[in-house]
Amino acid sequence: MKKQLMSGNEAIARGVYEAGVRFAAAYPGTPSTEIMEEFAKYENVYAEWAPNEKVAVEVAIGAALGGAKALAVMKHVGVNVAADPIFTVSYTGIQGALVIISADDPSMHSSQNEQDNRNYAKFAKIPMLEPADPQEAKEFVKLAFKISEQFDTPVFVRTTTRVAHSKSVVLLSELEPAEDKTTLTRHAEKYVMVPVVARHRRIEVEKRQHALKKFAESFPENKMEILNPDVGIITAGMPYNYAKDVFPDFSYLKLGMVHPLPEKMIRHFAAQVKKIYVIEELDPYLEEQIKAMGIAVTGKEIFPYTNEFHPGIIRDAIFQEKSGAISPYQDSLAARPPNLCPGCPHRGLFYALKKSKAYVHGDIGCYTLSYLKPLEGLHSCICMGASIGMAHGMSKALKEKGKGKVVGVIGDSTFLHSGITPLLNMAYNHSDALIIILDNSTTAMTGMQEHPGTGYTLMKNEAKKVNLNVLVSALGIENIKVIDPNNIKETQHAIKEELESSGPSVIIAQSPCVLFKRSHIKPARALTIDPDKCEGCKVCLTLNCPPISWKNGMTREGSNRKGIAVIDETLCNGCGLCSQVCKYEAIS
């Protein structure tokens, strides 16, 4: 068998393909994005970026009801968006097979919260598998499809960032035949969730839960290792590896299936060890259920609720000590926060927007980085699509007090994800807020994925591109301006005018992402600062553009300057913002 170094996400794509699955839908989101990008590279597959996770799940359900084996992929908060169909497809069951990947992000490396999506499995009564490394990730998605077919149920596979983005040696397997079992078969009495049918299916769900509990008792990926009669550890997923690293000789019950739990097996394990620790990141999900079985275990009394673990955390918690490795370097070190790229079109927009002194509701995307100093462009950010509804609500509540002062900003991909309905609401219920759509023609934050505004699909086919201007107009917005955010004066003027106008308005700030591969615009010539003209006023530095830095000294006769600004030509994309803000015409 071939060995390959693979990330958890690459391994999931491989596992899905090995299982004979040829259909998948998703919306990009860290740490899940690469699964679809990898899956789309395999032969004879259909893979699509849906505009949001709810649509992706519905697309996958449709395929499954047509007899296909279908995959839906999303990050943890994407499951919130998709929760509506997920909770009810649990009742209907599926004709073919349906697996939903939930990629959780303990420590919030790239997320707005660290919700523990194991709770969804219990809540929606859907079985959930949790792999601990890339090899298991590949095997577990294959098992998930088998369980889905055997029990007529959707199945969750939960990863965390460390599983998704760590790489290790994976043994590839032979491909299972990709049989075409698609068929147009009607089962209205099973799939039409009107109350009379739903009540019947509700009972079926409990029957299935019962059968799955039995299945879990002999599921080979629920593994017991009795090595030490004194201490036993119950765990699942990546924390198993952390614990094994520091305590290789304890006894283990490693759960490959975290819903439903194998109660008999857990009791059997508990009977063989004196002291039990439950080691899990985030919620006491296993711990509470095991305690409810009447089994005494130690868990969140000593292990943290927040953030991802590492082996040191587990060792210190169990030894009740703070070994705390100390750095010999004790001075403070300047932070290196993520920043907008050189030439990023968001920079000009937020520089201009700040001058308006408006309250700005933000959304999820690269532009959320404008929250940081010195742009400090946002005053709220909750979730995908929220900026528009929040701006509308604030504007309505403040009435006259909020007039000309409430703005919502949202990216193009995010607008198409979940901004259309709130904008329809804003137009219909008529508030004075201003919405700015930051249209950089791609889903930039997750790495340039296609969406309906790009004119291309995940499979690289051309598609009918949505016209944002026409769409916004059709929603009932009458005040619409399309501007270039790299022109600060034009942008400032448009913002001022639309804030002053009454009724809802939308500015579409159009300029492609500088990293965007399909953009045919060549970067402009790098700019330079004339040291004879620079007065050291530091205005250009307030753009926080990576190539611009401060050089102390360089005093000059007839000037009060204490230094000058310089541009690193190797980084500059020549967007020209700095030359627009320079009062001394020093930049060209």
Partner: protein, 193 residues
């Protein structure tokens, strides 16, 4: 507790320096010579100019892709001041490979704070083995500044008992044909530095 033979390396720098590619190459080399190898990093926000770290662990059987703080044997710092950020991860007897290239963080760019002074002196005082080289300059000489990551791998290879033919094979497989020679040259420059 039984003793494991797992060794840990930490690669640290700034988004865009090719750290993830370097740790991939490192892992493939370790795999090639028969080790179990795991690596871990966080994608996402780091691509936008933030700190990037990647841990590589290898041995006969590796469980955790993350090391216990205080246990890392080798630090490969892709940027000078970034070497200081993760010293709590290092074993007191760790070796440090240091790219002396400076990339200013925003606070230094804006003149609010100074870039740390005498980083090499500090590292030499606390660690027995510090290999400092300007990988960016060497890579430039090899033909492209982007090969600085492979220069640093060359330097790291001098601390690892692995035949250079294995390294060269993996490097050949990791780059498009037209970039292979450049990267092999960069690797050699790292060894010589």
């Amino acid at each position: 507790m039984s003793k494991s033979d797992v060794r840990s390396m930490l690669l640290a720098g700034v988004g865009g320096q090719g750290i993830l590619r370097a740790s991939d190459i490192l892992c493939m080399v370790l795999m090639e010579v028969g080790f179990d190898a795991k690596k871990s990093e966080v994608h996402g926000m780091a691509q936008r100019g933030g700190c990037v770290t990647s841990q590589v662990r290898y041995g006969s059987k590796v469980y955790s892709p993350l090391a216990v703080p205080g246990s890392v044997e080798t630090l490969i710092a892709f940027e000078k001041m970034e070497s200081l950020r993760y010293l709590n991860y290092l074993h007191p007897e760790a070796s440090v490979i240091l790219n002396t290239e400076e990339i200013y963080p925003p606070a230094v760019n804006m003149g609010e704070t100074l870039y740390p002074h005498d980083v090499i002196g500090f590292l030499n005082k606390h660690y027995q083995r510090v290999i400092a080289l300007n990988a960016a300059e060497l890579a430039q000489k090899a033909g492209n500044i982007k090969a600085a990551n492979v220069v640093l791998l060359g330097a790291a290879s001098t601390l690892m008992d692995i035949d250079s033919a294995v390294w060269e094979n993996v490097i050949k497989k990791s780059f498009p044909q037209k970039l292979v020679k450049l990267n092999l040259d960069a690797f050699q420059m790292g060894i010589a530095a």
